[in-house]
Amino acid sequence: MNEPQHLRRAALIWLVLTVVSLVAAWIIGPQLASWGSIPPVASNRAEDVDKLLGIFTLLSIPVFWLVVVFAGYAAFTFKSDGRPDRDGPGIRGHMPTQVTWVIVSVILVSFLFGYGLYAYNSLQSASAANTLVVHVNGEQWLWNYSFPQYGNASSTTLELPVNRPVRFDITSTDVQHSFWVPAMDVKQDAVPGVTTHISATPTQIGSYEVRCAELCGVYHSYMETPLLIVSESDFESYIATLQSGGSARIASPANALAWMVPDADSRASSIREGWVA
């Protein structure tokens, strides 16, 4: 078989695999959240970012199959049994291919950058008038929250009203932590001595968790506290409880190891139910 036939055949395989994968990704993608394969989607950020991840996946499929199909085709077709008795053709390059390759990769990268920049800027949008400000203070190994708009009412568990923009002002008292709400696609380091910011709007009522995403010492694994996204009226009553001193401080694992139970099931229940103050 001569060169153009090999090329045509490999290109056909590439085309088929690409189309099949694209269709599969198109069908599977929207189902992932309901299967628990990605975190629940509970904020405007999470919606945007899931779309972005989807587009990146679709774009990378043809590139992936291009390399895999051509290398794989070569491996199966041009294989020799044992030591080859003669050499392949002495081709030292092919200018048109090389130039095309560079142009295509420049175009792809420009698109990725342009789209990423657009998505980045749209997430940085100006804050609305009714933005809720939450002060977050990381501490080994829990999160402290306070609400400056509500007389600095403070708590170690967080509840947020649905559909109201939130701005988190984040800092730390000891070492670097990272404030992560997987369901809201919020992640921002808590750096001692400085305050960092991130904004999002919760869109789904439900029970989620806040994690630390930066290794922060012995009990980093357990720096996970609950987050409730609630209706506006439930939020008002939560604040009222806090203002009347109703919220007990969660014991940090450092001084109360009671909730550090080895068994996975009771650990999960301690985090998600019994542990909420």
């Binding site: 001569n2 153009p4 090999h6 394969s37 999470a46 990146f56 992936f64 390399v67 895999v68 290398a71 070569a74 041009f78 294989k79 020799s80 044992g82 030591r83 080859p84 050499d87 392949g88 053709p89 002495g90 081709i91 030292r92 390059g93 092919h94 200018m95 048109p96 291919t97 090389q98 990268v109 990725l112 950058f113 990423g116 920049l117 980045y120 997430l123 008292t173 000891d174 070492v175 670097q176 992560w180 997987p182 696609d185 919020v186 992640k187 921002q188 380091d189 001692p192 001595g193 400085v194 910011h197 994690r211 290794l215 922060c216 012995v218 980093h220 694994s221 068994d263 996975a264 999960a268």
Partner: protein, 642 residues
């Protein structure tokens, strides 16, 4: 007895004495309150002990002989003496001495880096044992964090040195037609620093977990050693930082030596455009090591000062945590670390680019497809890799206004990397592929590094990174680049050059078992890790929510398969080294210089320095330049470039 002094044995004895004297007595005299009775180590005592260990070791191996004879202006060593120092007539003892021959140093590096690989792999297995089910059952969390930190740091040190060390030393000088490295003594010294550095590094669990109060004494920081936590963490941090500083010094020396060797020692006719890609890859890596390591060394030095002398580089006076006056910055630590940390991953993988391309050429029996493009790809990565480090800080809060710049540079780096992929594909296409184990590993590099590279594009994007950062997706991504890229390249290189380095062939049948075990174990384990990453599992946790349990179970099982196949590799290396089939000078029919010298390679490599008249890639049946290839040869494959 005379044979043992100087040697590594004498060095070990004097090093131990030096450590003991330094840590127990010297500290006492300079008034740090370290009582000389009984084992009582504080951090300053440990560091002084390490200095004592280093000097004892260097004294014992005889590294001071030349500097002092230079200082006293004694007779310059003649050729005869140089040859004795290079291990002439020393037999096996030359591997246990301060020996200047680059081939001896290469073998020493090969053995030690494989030892490091085994230790780091042991760490990985302990991690996977802990994570096989939810619940921190196997280790206390502090011990687990220590294992994670040591696995990360040790594997990084291994992968930094396992190309530049064994192959940079053994192969590169012969490839460029030189008799030795530019500075043979510096070369021997750089290995002689790696070894005590490793010993000091391995004191981390001894002091952190055994001698000093159990759980809190270990290293809690991970390999990123962010300043605020590194200042606060247990005593294990001190040997870790000191050991890594020393290994950093060793790698800077090795890098300076290699760069100088490639620039000044090339044989007549070995022009820059005739260098094999292996040399280009290792040269690029050495440039990165020479420039990047300084940032990390500075970071570690500041950490040690913060810990021992309570300086305020990273301390921030907040709340009850203040030890010094404060005024430090956590972002400073991050930036110093990542300015090294990112070029560092390219430093690991660039030699693999070069070596994989060379192996594909040899076993594909075709010239390199686009030599200049390959060089451009490697050097492009070298330049760009210094402009991307802040993509590790997309969620740190530092300088949000320059994030788009780093997003752009990070995505740009896929252009030179893409060039390397085109070179690889073009070289394979229509070759006559000889599927040896080395070739299989080189081809697995394509698949694995492709996945590593494509997932890297996801992480380069700021909004996507906000979700994925600090999670298992990142862990899977960089394991795909470092294990799937560099480690597969290393295995390919070992199977390829083992006959030249040891005079024995590796067993191909065991090699195939090793190959398939590695590919299946690695790919399933880390594809599953991408999955838990997308699910939202954070990195470096000893315990996790039940939703992540099924995938983690799969990861652990396949990680054990991966480890078992690497045990096969170690067995293969040891058994073949002892009793393998004897190798001929050029078992693969390759055309670069190292295959044209006899096996075992004689002391000064070449009878006469060769005069190089053509490039290393003269494979293939001739094609008419500039004209379309006739149909029998395969259609219009195009012109001959370069």
């Amino acid at each position: 007895m005379r044979k043992l002094v100087p040697s590594y044995f004498a060095g070990a004895v004097l090093g131990a004495i030096g450590f003991f004297l330094g840590s127990q007595y010297v500290t006492h005299f300079i008034g740090a309150g370290n009582a000389p009775d009984g084992p009582n180590f504080d951090q300053q005592g440990l560091v002084i002990g390490f200095i004592g260990l280093l000097f004892g070791w260097l004294l014992g191996i005889g590294a001071f002989k030349y500097p002092f004879s230079w200082l006293l202006a004694m007779k310059d060593p003649d050729h005869e003496e140089e040859m004795r120092l290079a291990g002439k007539d020393a037999g096996v003892m030359r591997y246990f001495r301060f020996t200047t021959d680059h081939k001896v140093v290469g073998i020493q590096y090969l053995v030690v880096t494989m030892l490091m690989l085994a230790l780091g792999g042991l760490g990985a297995m302990l991690i996977r044992t802990e994570l096989i089910t939810p619940g921190a059952k196997a280790f206390p969390t502090g011990t687990y964090n220590t294992i994670v930190s040591m696995h990360g740091m040790l594997m990084i040190l291994t992968t930094i040195s396992f190309f530049i060390g064994p192959f940079g030393n053994f192969v590169v000088p012969i490839m460029i037609g030189a008799r030795d490295m530019a500075f043979p003594r510096l070369n021997a010294l750089s290995f002689a620093l790696l070894f005590p550095g490793l010993v000091i590094f391995m004191m981390t669990p001894i002091f952190g977990l055994i001698i000093m109060n159990g759980d809190g004494g270990g290293v809690q920081t991970g390999w990123t050693v962010y300043g605020t936590l590194a200042d606060q963490t247990g005593i294990g941090m001190t040997p870790l930082a000191a050991g890594v500083l020393l290994i950093g010094a060793s790698s800077i020396m090795g890098a300076v030596n290699l760069v100088t060797t490639v620039i000044t020692m090339r044989a007549p006719g070995m022009t820059w455009t005739r260098l094999p890609m292996t040399v280009w890859g290792i040269f690029g890596a050495a440039l990165l090591a020479a420039i990047g390591t300084g940032a990390f060394s500075a970071d570690l030095l500041l950490i040690l000062l913060d810990r021992i002398y309570k300086t305020s580089f990273f301390y921030v006076a907040t709340g009850g945590n203040a030890v010094g006056a404060g005024g430090g910055s956590s972002w400073l630590s991050q930036n110093l670390f990542w300015f090294f940390g990112h070029p560092e991953v390219y430093l690991i993988v660039l030699p693999a680019f070069g070596i994989v391309i060379d192996i594909l050429v040899v076993f594909g029996r075709k010239p390199l497809f686009g030599y200049k493009m390959a060089v451009l790809g490697i050097m492009g990565v070298v330049v760009l890799s210094f402009l991307v480090w802040a993509h590790h800080e997309f969620v740190s809060g530092w300088a949000p206004e320059i994030r788009p710049f780093y997003m752009a540079t990070t995505e740009m780096i896929s252009i030179p990397t893409g060039l390397v992929f085109l070179v690889v594909l073009g070289t394979l296409w229509r070759g006559r592929l000889w599927m040896t184990t080395a070739m299989l590993f080189a081809m697995s590099f394509i698949w694995n590094f492709l996945i590593g590279g494509l997932t890297g594009v996801f992480l380069s994007d700021v909004p996507a990174d906000v979700q994925l950062h600090g999670g298992m997706f990142v862990t899977a991504h960089f394991h795909y680049t470092i294990v799937g890229g560099a480690l597969m390249g290393f295995f390919a290189a070992v199977y390829f050059w083992f006959p030249k380095m040891t005079g024995r062939m590796l067993d191909e049948r065991l090699g195939k078992i090793h190959f398939w075990g590695t590919q299946i174990g690695f790919n399933v384990a880390f594809l599953a890790m991408f999955y838990v990453g997308l699910q939202g599992m954070p990195r470096r946790v000893a315990d996790y929510a039940p939703i992540f349990a099924p995938a983690n179970f799969v990861i652990s099982i396949f990680a054990f398969i991966l480890a078992a196949s690497i045990l096969v590799f170690f067995y293969n290396v040891i058994a073949s080294w002892v009793a393998g089939e004897k190798a001929v000078a050029n078992p693969w029919g390759a055309k670069s210089l190292e295959w044209l010298v006899p096996t075992p390679v004689p002391l000064e490599n070449f009878e006469e320095i060769p005069v190089v008249a053509s490039g290393p890639y003269d494979y293939g049946e001739p094609v008419d330049s500039g004209k379309p290839i006739p149909a029998a040869g395969g259609g219009s494959a195009g012109q001959v470039a370069g």
